[in-house]
């Protein structure tokens, strides 16, 4: 009995701390409903009294193409990342080729390269190739955020697949490609979901590649939509925040529907449980 009461005391404090931490997120939502004339009110309304949907109307009329581009870029990045990383993970985990250790090491190093440097290199290359301001170009660049992570996740996960399972497939006459496609991939579902979620989220959130490689394109992603809003109409903060709320939707979906996989991605066996 005593224990329970103490537990609830902790819950109260926990709710308070979480509320404090998430307050900026609440404020973003609140401002997205605030009328223009209340925007600079002092003190500001803590709740959206006399709320307006103007911000969201602005999003619907101006930002939808950006959302579409972001969806396209996100999905493209997911497909490209999976296609590259899953076979590599299989090779590193189960086939252990000579030189595999070096590839693994390079993947670790690759993650340490600051994005601004990649962006500048890509810019020079894309300018030569004439693929600046194109969606495939942006997908390719965005995939560099996710591919090293994805290979490492697949390698770690596929290492756990029992060798017997793969042997059995060989005995049944399946070649390596067949084994990979019909045995290894289906049992790696969790890794596939984790990688897809993060690859999508990162491509969706990407700002640096978008601003350097797609800044003048006709198809620009949502992050640039928000950025240009901030730059252009400094006053319409309800529209800016409404766009931010829309841009935060994938995060919310991820947390609600796929929290289990998010935890896999974050702690991915950080310590032996």
């Amino acid at each position: 009995m005593k224990r329970t009461r103490r537990g609830w005391w902790r819950s109260g404090l926990g709710v308070l701390l979480t509320g404090l931490m998430l307050f900026p997120v609440y404020w973003m939502i609140n401002v997205s409903f605030t009328r223009d004339q209340d925007m600079r009110r002092n003190p500001p309304h803590l709740f959206p009294v006399d709320g307006t949907l103007d911000g969201y109307r602005a999003v619907l009329s101006q930002q939808l193409p950006y959302v579409g581009t972001s969806l396209l870029v996100g999905l493209g990045t997911v497909l490209l990342t999976l296609a590259l990383a899953a076979p590599a993970g299989y090779a590193l985990a189960k086939l252990r080729p000579p030189g595999g250790g070096a590839v693994r090491f390079l993947l670790l190093i690759a993650q340490m390269i600051p994005g601004i440097i990649m962006a500048m290199g890509f810019y020079a290359i894309y300018l030569d190739l004439g693929v600046l301001n194109t969606v495939p170009g942006l997908i390719l660049a965005d995939s560099t955020i996710a591919v090293p992570f994805a290979v490492l996740i697949f390698t770690a996960f596929m290492s756990g697949i029992p060798d017997d399972l793969i042997q059995a497939a060989h005995v049944d006459g399946a070649n390596r490609l067949r084994t990979f496609w019909s045995v290894v991939l289906p049992v790696s579902r969790n890794a596939i979901v984790t990688v897809s979620l993060f690859a999508f989220l990162w491509a969706w959130s990407d700002f640096i590649f978008a601003s350097t490689l797609d800044g003048g394109g006709t198809h620009r992603p949502i992050t640039l939509g928000i950025y240009q809003y901030i730059g252009n109409n400094n006053q319409q903060w309800n529209a800016i925040m409404a766009t931010a709320v829309v841009a935060a939707i994938p995060t919310t979906v991820l947390l609600v529907l796929a929290q289990r996989y998010v935890a896999v991605g974050v702690t991915a066996g950080a310590v032996k449980d």
């Binding site: 931490m21 500001p44 590259l84 086939l95 252990r96 990649m118 770690a156 350097t212 931010a244």
Partner: protein, 326 residues
């Protein structure tokens, strides 16, 4: 964007290490992995290997090349920029922005790391004792970390706005004069540090929490029987046993924080008057932020930043090695 990478790379590296430890059989590898198997394995690995060459090595090479030539907009498009040796590096090192940018990078990184770690650890200890709702609340704590940086950055910009921001309104309520968080050179660096700490807390919380979970409970029970106080248990059990996890958290935090660009650029653009400029934002401003791009110096600053990141990476890998040997 790069932020996300390092955010997870740590855990992956560790997981990979553990998986490698599990996967390494004590017996010699079976015979079937000879000859043809190597080629088959490389057939699966070839796409990624080619990808690393084409989309990591080549952009890096182009970046080095950019930094060694005297580029103008014209020669950037048409080619034929003259070789300039280390001129760009000399120019950058002598620039009045260099020392402040380096200093701000150091302050930003150290302050962010320490605050994120301390708050993350305190929260991890708090959540370590299970209580009703603890799982849900911990999941909610992930939100700032998963939000697109532009969303967090623009929200903080508005919160810290001089005239209409909530922070100044709250300060006014307790009688403090409004602070020009983003528009005064005195406060801009602190403002971006605050936002960055907010973003980094969840990562530290989650990783340190799973580190705490791995500490055997009986140790605490035994210590409690011996009459150890809460502080003593933390000092002599939690802290030493959490050290490997703490070190990896800090090192990955370091690599991530060095790369932070979006957040600062969106909130202050490195200003006012360079007061929140770090090496990352300076590099971007040189290459893309002005009407007349200076690709050579921009690439040079980027390469200096890479040296810092690789240095941090070397420390990390060295640490990994030492852990593995233990």
């Amino acid at each position: 964007m790069g932020s996300h990478l390092a955010r997870t790379s740590r855990s992956v590296a560790v997981r990979e290490r553990d998986a490698a430890a599990r996967a390494t059989p004590p017996a010699p590898p079976p015979r079937r992995r000879t000859g043809g198997a190597g080629w088959a394995a490389w057939a699966f690995l070839a796409p990624v290997a080619g990808y690393l060459l084409a989309f990591y090595a080549y952009p890096l090479y182009r970046n080095v090349e950019l930094s060694l030539r005297e580029y103008t907009v014209r020669s950037f498009v048409q080619g034929g920029a003259p070789f300039a040796g280390l001129d760009n590096y000399r120019q950058v090192l002598a620039a009045p922005t260099f020392v402040p940018a380096l200093w701000h990078t150091a302050v930003f990184t150290v302050a962010s790391l320490l605050c994120q770690f301390a708050i993350g650890l305190a929260l991890a200890l708090f959540f370590h004792r299970h209580f009703p709702l603890s799982r849900t609340l911990r999941a909610l704590f992930l939100v700032p970390w998963l939000l697109p940086l532009i969303v967090s950055a623009s929200t903080w910009s508005w919160l810290l706005n001089s005239e209409a921001g909530l922070v100044n309104a709250a300060l006014a309520a307790v009688g403090v004069e409004p602070v020009n968080w983003l528009t005064s050179p005195r406060w801009s660096l602190l403002s971006v540090i605050i936002a960055n700490v907010w973003i980094g807390i969840p990562f530290n919380l989650v990783v340190l929490y799973s580190g705490l979970q791995a500490i055997p409970r009986p140790l605490y029970e035994a210590a409690a029987l011996d009459g150890a106080s809460g502080w003593q248990r933390f000092r002599w059990i939690t802290w030493p046993l959490l050290r490997p996890v703490s070190a990896i958290t800090l090192l990955l935090g370091l690599i991530y924080t060095l790369k932070v660009f979006d957040l600062i650029w969106i909130m202050t653009r490195g200003g006012p008057t360079d007061s929140s400029t770090t090496l990352a934002t300076w590099s971007y401003r040189l290459g893309f932020g002005n009407l007349l791009p200076e690709f050579g110096p921009g690439a040079a600053v980027g390469n200096l930043l890479i040296l810092l990141a690789v240095g941090a990476g070397a420390v990390y890998i060295g640490f990994e090695r030492r852990q593995r040997l233990r």
